[in-house]
């Protein structure tokens, strides 16, 4: 067993309980062992399996709590009570919902492609769960800390875009197919600003490993990289298709979008994936921009991480509750003409600043953050000027022509021949 794994407190306790006499454990005060010598690989596999199950189940449990919390807060913001019947403060409402979804009738429509129809929910939820594998939850509390962490996150989360297309296409529904096309346009458009906004973070941290990025944040990157955080926050919400950007499942336009024909547990899995993606996105924001598990000493690092995640989640909820849904052209213009430029500006400015101070200490980081905040305000103001719709000017009334259509005996020739379909 390598020492880097024994630094991981999650791994060390279980592994050394199983194989205590092995090289690394004996020096750390573990002597009794359950498994005999020579079975270190089995101890490793069992340890990994236990930890993976703990992390995944914690994620699923967090979704249950999060759905309840969001419905309560949504109720408060909209001046109503929210769920309050089942359990104290309605706490068990989402548990009851989960059980109800389990026992609902499962309908597969005739037009659906049965295999792909069942495959889509699985493809939707597993990438979101996979991201949990690389997030450091605290000091020495992570499943695995690979050196290409961010690349892994970006690569894995892009699978869920495919699964939306798959779900909409496989259900064979006319309305769903429109949702699938929109998801192609929207999800892939926001993937680029999401990836490019992290380049500033990578330049400052000098590593892709999420653990190393947390270690590098002596000053949280929210101060040094305000543009990166701004773009990443918006792009992450679009990727998880939360309400300001939820035109994939826009109720008033597409019924339920790609979820139209799904029922029972398959619908439940999509629902789970969406809320889990929000939690995971806020965990990523905390890890990359808010200093991760770093905090002041008497409070353990895991509590710092959880507290910051709840704060970011509250902010994301607040955005969801306050803003109306954007139109499809507005969303795409925001991605391509707004966020993309902001990321380019961020890359240029950060590259110049690092070229001036290649090894920034605390003073240099503070100067950089002041410059970056000035650049942030100026560039966001400029881009908002650029994307603002042009002022509406009412057409000047023409005296000889009525503003409303009038029935005339003499239709123009082109209208008469083509039935009006001239344009």
């Amino acid at each position: 067993m390598n020492s880097t794994f024994l630094d991981n407190s999650l791994f060390r306790n279980i592994y050394c309980y199983l194989a205590g006499g092995s090289d690394g454990c004996a020096s750390r005060g573990y002597d009794t062992a359950i498994l005999p010598a020579g079975f270190e690989w089995l101890a490793f596999a069992i340890t990994a399996f236990i930890i993976i199950n703990i992390v995944i189940n914690a994620g699923l449990g967090a979704v249950i709590v999060y759905i309840w919390g969001e419905r309560r807060i949504l109720g408060r913001i909209q001046n109503r009570t929210g769920p309050n019947r089942w359990g104290p403060f309605g706490m068990f409402t989402s548990v009851a919902d989960a059980i109800k979804t389990l026992f609902k009738e499962d309908i597969v429509p005739d037009e659906a492609d049965r295999w792909l129809f069942n495959l889509a929910p699985i493809l939707m939820v597993f990438p979101v769960l996979m991201v949990l594998a690389v997030i450091p939850f605290g000091v020495g509390t992570f499943v695995v800390d690979i050196n290409v962490g961010i690349l892994f996150v970006i690569a894995v989360t892009s699978v869920s875009g495919i699964s939306v297309v798959l779900a909409s296409w496989a259900s064979g529904n006319r309305i769903s197919i429109f949702a699938g096309m929109r998801s192609v346009a929207m999800l892939i458009s926001y993937e680029i600003p999401m990836a490019l906004s992290l380049i500033g973070v990578l330049m400052l941290a000098g590593s892709m490993s999420l653990g190393a990025i947390v270690e590098a944040q002596d000053l949280p990157f929210i101060l040094v990289q305000p543009l990166g955080l701004f773009v990443f926050l918006i792009a992450a919400q679009a990727e998880t298709s939360r309400t300001p950007f939820d035109l994939i499942e826009a109720e008033s336009e597409l019924a339920a979008g790609y979820l139209n024909d799904y029922s029972s547990m398959k619908f439940g899995i999509f629902f789970l994936a969406e809320f889990l993606a929000t939690i995971v996105a806020s965990m990523l924001i905390v890890t990359l921009f808010l200093g991760g598990w770093r905090g002041w000493d008497p409070i353990p690092s895991q509590v710092w991480f959880a507290g910051k995640t709840v704060l970011v989640l509250l902010f994301i909820m607040w955005m969801r509750f306050s803003w109306p849904r954007l139109r499809v052209d507005q969303i795409l213009v925001l991605a391509w003409k707004g966020l993309f430029e902001l990321t380019l500006i961020n890359i240029f400015v950060t590259a110049i600043l690092i070229a001036i101070w290649p090894d920034p200490g605390m003073t240099e980081l503070l100067i950089m953050s002041v410059i970056n905040w000035i650049v942030f305000f100026i560039s966001v103001w400029l881009v908002s000027k650029l994307l603002r719709p042009s002022d509406y000017s009412a057409p000047t009334p023409q005296p000889n022509r009525p503003a409303y259509p009038v029935a005339t005996d003499e239709l123009p020739d082109e209208v008469a021949y083509t039935g009006g379909a001239t344009r």
């Binding site: 069942n118 429109f178 490019l196 380049i199 000098g206 590593s207 213009v333 380019l344």
Partner: protein
């Protein structure tokens, strides 16, 4: 070192298996509930039609799609490759600029300027617009 890699990616593969197993298990649980008569199974031909707001579906499935979606997919490929090429530079940028000075910045500046020119060209050509205004 190599063993360390194998351990890390071994854990990731196990994570993948569990993460795929969780939704499959949930689906199987829901499917098994049918046999203990908890989950109803009363399909009818009306239930099995595609949902179309209460109407019987009468139009064929849309096979054509707007060319705009294709534009965005092409642009995505172009700029995603740019992202992939920028990532390794960004990681080593601090070290490189300490060692070689401004060369590390200008080397990528050329690349970024070319990409930005392509972006401006796409903008000028109207490839980034969802709706094209009538006068063009």
């Amino acid at each position: 070192m190599l063993e360390d890699y194998f351990r890390q990616y071994g854990i990731l593969v196990m994570f993948l298996l569990v993460a795929v197993g969780v939704p499959i298990g949930m689906l199987l649980m829901s499917w098994a509930a049918e046999f203990i008569r908890v989950r109803p199974k009363q399909t009818s031909i009306v239930k099995r039609t595609s949902y179309e707001s209460g109407l019987r579906p009468f139009s064929p499935k849309p096979r054509l799609f707007n060319i705009r979606y294709y534009y965005y997919a092409i642009l995505f490929v172009v700029f995603d490759v740019e992202t992939v090429l920028l990532f390794p530079w960004a990681i080593k940028y601090g070290v490189l600029s300490k060692e070689f000075g401004l060369i590390a910045f200008f080397a990528v500046l050329v690349f970024l300027v070319v990409v930005t020119l392509g972006y401006l060209y796409a903008w000028r050509k109207g490839a980034l617009e969802w709706t094209r205004s009538m006068e063009n």
